[in-house]
Amino acid sequence: MKRVGVLALQGAVREHVRMLEELGCQTVLVKHKEHLEGLDGLILPGGESTTMRKLLDRYELMGPIRSLAQKGVPMFGTCAGLILLAKEVVDHDPHLAVMDVVVARNSYGRQVDSFEVNLNIQAIGEAIPAVFIRAPHIVSVGEGVEVLAEHDGKIVLARDGHLLGCSFHPELTTDLRIVKYFVTTMV
């Protein structure tokens, strides 16, 4: 059984746990560095990236998570999680800085501009529901980074080897395909 952690400082934790369990994974809530031991993969959920960053610092999780990513442990960041993974964040300091993408925060405006849309993602499937909430987007990607989905000319899902990041929240829907893609092809 694959053992997948979900960073559980704040945000859409229970949604990811539910999806991982439906996909037959063993889940671990990651609040302290001890919880990172023996993980086959890690999900960084949606939430508030500034809040998560403060707590990552206070509980000395930044270094350990970064070194896991550098060792090749697969990680998937959704929305705030994508911001945490990105090597560069427009107008802000980066966080884990492991995924070779440049990300802009709140790219679509405030909450009244938040939206849902169906995406066709060649590598994964057709009409995948995507919920964008005060969402970031990927401005540019480094060499070797695969762009998996775009919406309105903006990159919203990309894969950098063992790291996957998206602007939206697959965890808010009942469609398992994107998380399944992560679990089956990357973990």
């Binding site: 945000g11 859409a12 809040t51 707590l55 929305c79 709140n106 405030r110 909450q111 919920v131 964008f132």
Partner: protein, 294 residues
């Protein structure tokens, strides 16, 4: 096709706040302190509830200048309060691009019979509740998030505890009922029948439920999480304490690590004096904000 203001988008926004602390602030400086402490959102107000109590008179939506100032100061979401039933205050806040509106009993109600039809708006709403009937009526009107009412501005957790226990006990009861018992329960609670069916199916409320009203210490915040709240609103408790930065940080940490009692002991050391509390029994009926709303 791209759709804004859907139920999923509005409820989803609240899902992203889970496990976090939303703090009342009255200016840009306080908003920055809250953000630096790790708040997941701020509530922009003209006065915190304890000052609303002191000032008396009619409490209204904040000056839009204050809301704007707070929105410009932070990158985390900004909420603001409109009076119960005040359609125009709510529309004004929506037009300003506020991320969430609290249809709040902390302000003087504008309508003593009807709440806002919140499903009509693109912006999501949070509303207070004391029991499942009230919670379900607010969800029925389109609230995307709930919070217990507590007794705001008192620094006394007793009412918030009463309300979260009540709501959760009633949810457990509905979940345990058979289908044929739900209609009578809906009648007794004054709750929409379809919502009770949904609660039974989900095994919980269909929206996030935060605790609010009277949270003054890290232990109070952790207590509300222990009792099943999805997160915590702190009103007067932070900026009416002796050391707002330390209180704010400690309350954020206690909310995340609410079962880690050693850690809560550590972060509660030498915090200084919390806000001065009020015994609820000393409040007259007309001073009890939780009675507002129907």
């Amino acid at each position: 096709m791209k759709q804004t203001g859907t139920e999923l988008v509005k409820r989803g926004m609240a899902e992203m706040q889970k496990g976090g602390v939303i703090m009342d602030v009255i200016n840009a400086e306080q908003a920055k302190i809250a953000e630096a402490a790790g708040a997941v959102a701020v509530m922009a107000l003209e006065r915190v509830p304890s000052d609303i109590r002191k000032a008396g008179g009619v409490a209204r939506m904040a000056d839009p200048r204050i809301v704007e100032e707070v929105m410009a100061a932070v990158t985390i979401p900004v909420m603001a309060k409109a009076r119960i039933g005040h359609i125009v205050e709510a529309r004004v806040l929506e037009a300003m691009g506020v991320d969430y509106i609290d249809e709040s009993e902390v302000l003087t109600p504008a309508d003593e019979e009807y709440h806002l039809l919140k499903s009509d708006y693109t912006v999501p709403f949070v509303c207070g509740c004391r029991d499942l009937g009230e919670a379900a009526r607010r969800i029925g009107e389109g609230a995307s998030m709930l919070r217990t009412k507590g007794e705001p501005g008192t620094g006394n957790i007793v009412e918030a505890v009463r309300h979260i226990r009540k709501v959760n006990a009633q949810v457990r009861k509905v979940v345990g009922m058979t289908e044929d018992e739900l209609m009578t329960e809906a009648k007794l609670l004054g709750a929409p029948f379809e919502l009770l069916r949904e609660i039974k199916k989900l095994g919980r409320l269909p929206v996030v439920n935060f605790a609010a009203g009277g949270v003054a210490t890290p232990a109070d915040a952790a207590l509300m999480m222990e009792l099943g709240a999805d997160g915590v609103f702190v009103g007067s408790g932070i900026f009416k304490s002796e050391n707002p930065e330390k209180f704010a940080r400690a309350i954020v940490e206690a909310t995340t690590h609410y079962k880690d009692y050693k850690l809560i002991a550590e972060i509660s050391k030498e915090l200084g004096v919390p806000m001065k509390g009020i015994d609820i029994a000393q409040l007259s009926q007309s001073e009890r904000m939780q009675e507002r709303g129907w």
